[in-house]
């Protein structure tokens, strides 16, 4: 073994070698691919849609043309009433529901994750709330919380707390045994471990649960609106259907999809902000996505 070799090895201690030029190129290609494939697929859908209408000659009350939908969507997007009343209502209901789901889900998740006895006691009830079809609860919620935002918030909360709770419990239990032993060996109290080790470790799992929960909360709020009340994107869509404004109905569905996408994107952004150290976020960063 030569002296040079030893030097080379200790140099190799410097972390993460830069990727080879070829691989970087391919990675860049992967990264930008979505920017040209998405428009391409959209164009294909447009022509498929047109073609279908031309062949079947469907009534515009059943299936409007893409142009009519775009025109309707444009009208909706520029109408401040839609934003100030319907989008805002759904937005506040969804976020309030999610906030309750986080509070309840994280608390229950920690209890279940930390204590085997509590897990035994609580599990059957938690599972019972999940196997019950939540839509069946909606009339009850209307009865209890009225036609206002209360019933929608309750529905959003109950459909979205489950993934947060299970993820939190899983996160608490997945703290490596060796990390716990490290805490013991440096003399950390249970309270210190909870604040400085369990919580940051579990945050990654809570955020993963929130990714699913935000989508479910949106659905919960919109389903709640369908069942009663006078505001929100769900109510708006129902009105359009009753008025047979099918092009507008299509537009409102696009709005709801965009709404969900923005909320989901915010959770992903939050994840990058709060847990930049986590494996999943690092992988995203390395892809450059």
């Amino acid at each position: 073994m030569s002296q040079n070799q030893v030097v080379a090895i200790s140099d190799a201690e410097s972390p993460v070698p830069a990727p080879a030029a070829g691989r970087r190129w391919r990675r860049a290609l992967d990264r930008w691919m979505v920017w040209w494939t998405t428009p391409l697929v959209l164009v294909a859908i447009y022509f498929g849609w047109k073609l279908y209408l031309a062949i079947t000659d469907l009534s515009p009350f059943v299936m409007p043309t893409p142009e009519a939908v775009l025109a309707a969507l444009k009208e909706q997007v520029t109408d401040p009433y839609i934003w100030e009343v319907h989008v805002w209502a759904t937005f506040t209901e969804t976020l309030s529901g999610l906030a309750i789901a986080i509070a309840v889900g994280v608390t229950l998740g920690f209890l279940i994750g930390k204590s085997r006895i509590l897990a035994r006691i609580l599990k059957p009830f938690v599972v019972a709330t999940q196997v019950t079809p939540k839509v069946a609860l909606a009339p009850l919620f209307v009865l209890w919380f009225g036609f206002g935002p209360g019933s929608k918030i309750a529905l959003a909360a109950i459909v979205s707390f489950f993934p947060i709770m299970t993820n939190t419990a899983f996160g608490v239990q997945s703290l490596p045994r060796s990390t716990k032993e490290m805490c013991t060996s440096v003399g950390a109290s249970g309270w210190y471990r909870f604040r400085k080790v369990d919580l940051p470790h579990t945050l990654a799992y809570i955020l993963a649960g929130m990714e699913v929960a935000i989508v479910l909360a949106t659905i919960g709020a919109i389903v709640g609106e369908y069942l009663g009340g006078d505001k929100g994107l769900g109510r708006y869509a129902l009105n359009l259907q009753n008025n047979l404004q099918i092009d507008m109905l299509f537009g409102s569905i696009v709005l709801m999809a965009a709404f969900g996408l923005v909320l989901y994107g915010s959770v992903v952004a939050l994840k990058r902000l709060l847990i930049p150290w986590h494996e999943s976020v690092r992988a995203l960063r390395e892809e450059g996505a």
Binding site: Q5, V6, I9, S10, A12, E13, S14, P15, V16, P176, S178, T179, E181, M182, T184, S185, V186, G187, A188, S189, Y192, K196, V197, P200, I275, W277, H278, E279, R282
Partner: protein
């Protein structure tokens, strides 16, 4: 003075009395400032012994005394007080992935309620001691395996314990890096003079680092040899090529193979 007294302890994980206990009766006195290597094949219970000294495992019978006080019999609060003078370096680095190197080193200081500025100062000093001043702000995933293990050592030293327990700390790094880290550890030890108990299954590492090598055999785990290494310090890597070093290593290898059980391998 005796820093660690392992007083006739046994450890049995499997309650079946037909099987040999993990550790038979072990009696061991380790003096203040001594560097002791626990050497043995995997499965001989050397890690279990170390974990019992560090209070992470309870002996089935007998007790461990640290500076004359029993760890095994103590209440939770008393045990925490006694173990405050013990630092543990694990096989895995066990760094918190969301904390920078500096903040990781500061964990035990934070636990002890040290003020923020003081904490930063001491942690920075410790990182300098292990040669990682340039990596203070780096997260664990940005460090190499060897660097992470050095941060872990800095963390264990940060609260200035009298005793340092090390469980194959360099087991996961490549041989060359391991040589570098062993040199480093010797340098740190010569500056800080802790009592060190170092678990390894490498004869080479044991002879290079230790004042005293305790060789263990398996089923039941027991001490089969207790050997002094008198090679003067600082020892260089060249010192591992001398006839004395090689002769000592050969002796230890003989002891290991005499107590070799077929399903285990002694490297």
């Amino acid at each position: 003075m005796t820093a660690i007294h392992v007083d006739r302890i046994t450890k049995r994980f499997d309650p079946d009395p037909g099987k040999a206990p993990t550790l038979g009766t072990i009696d061991l006195a380790i003096e203040d400032g001594e560097f002791v290597a626990l050497l043995g094949p995997s499965g001989c219970g050397k890690t279990t012994l170390l974990r019992m000294i560090g209070g992470l495992e309870q002996p089935t019978s007998g007790q461990v005394l640290i500076n004359g006080e029993s760890v095994s019999a103590a209440s939770k609060a008393a045990r925490r007080r006694i173990l405050a003078s013990v630092g543990f370096v694990f096989q895995e680095h066990n760094l918190l992935p969301w904390r920078s190197a500096l903040a990781n080193v500061a964990v035990p200081l934070e636990v002890r309620g040290m003020a923020r500025a003081e904490r930063r100062r001491v942690a920075a000093e410790m990182l300098a001691l292990v040669g990682l001043s340039h990596a203070e702000g780096k997260l664990p995933h940005e460090l190499s395996g060897g660097m992470r293990q050095r941060v872990a050592i800095a963390r264990a030293l940060s609260y200035d314990p009298d005793i340092l327990l090390m469980d194959e700390p360099f087991g996961a790094v490549d041989a060359q890096t391991r040589d570098v880290l062993n040199l480093e550890l010797q340098r740190i030890w010569m500056r800080r003079r802790k009592t060190v108990v170092f678990v390894t299954h490498s004869v080479h590492e044991a002879v290079f680092l230790a004042d005293r090598v305790v060789v263990m055999g398996a089923s039941p785990g027991r001490v089969v040899e207790d050997l002094r290494i008198t090679t003067p310090r600082p020892r260089s890597l060249e010192a591992t090529m001398t006839p004395e070093f090689l002769a000592t290593a050969a002796t230890l290898r003989d002891f290991l193979s005499d107590h070799f059980t077929p399903q285990e391998s002694a490297t």
